[in-house]
């Protein structure tokens, strides 16, 4: 079946602009996660959703970052007034439910802020 998909795959934006990154989870997966991976590093947790609610958004680095999920499906991560340090690969994952279920990752969106 279809895996997690993300769009766009690449995004180049100018400093100060807003960007929206989209994630389509595996159908039927109730939990959805966003991570960020800077070049040569491990993944940093940003936020996760259970259904349309976000029980843990502790990883969002600043108030410029926000995320929402609708219809217990698609999620959008929005970064306002982008800065160069926001450049990274943003990875989305989904799992059948929160807890003891493995997370399946999408291909990521590579964001470059110039």
């Amino acid at each position: 079946g279809a895996g997690v998909s993300q769009s766009p795959s690449n995004k180049v934006t100018e400093k100060g602009k807003d960007v929206e990154l989209r994630c389509d989870p595996i159908s039927g997966h109730t939990a959805l996660y966003w991570y960020r991976q800077r070049l040569g590093q491990g993944l940093e947790f940003l936020i996760y959703f259970q259904g349309n609610s976000a029980p843990d958004k502790s990883g969002l680095p600043s108030d410029r970052f926000s995320a929402e999920r609708t219809g217990e499906s698609v999620s959008t991560l929005t970064i306002q007034r982008t800065q160069q340090e926001d450049s990274a690969v943003y990875l989305c994952a989904s799992s059948l439910n929160r807890g003891y279920y493995e997370q399946y990752f999408g291909p990521g969106t590579r964001l470059t802020v110039t």
Partner: protein, 108 residues
Amino acid sequence: ELKVEQNPLFLSMQEGKNYTIYCNYSTTSDRLYWYRQDPGKSLESLFVLLSNGAVKQEGRLMASLDTKARLSTLHITAAVHDLSATYFCAPGNEKLTFGTGTRLTIIP
């Protein structure tokens, strides 16, 4: 705050040899995941370890978890070139905390 350390960070090994990657974490976690990442690609799930003493094997890879020691290992047996990748461990529940990764290169 949960901290995760993997070692080694870089590993070059010859085909046919055995080696172990270590993952230490700082606070209690009942679960731990191992992922593989190829250059420029996303993460592929390798193992889900759900309890103390859990051991899982897939092909030339075997993972184990000791929750009391807060240690997981990924053992590679008779390495082959297509195992070259970066391997991440990630303890946690919903919020996974990833190690810095071990970049493994298998040389002929």
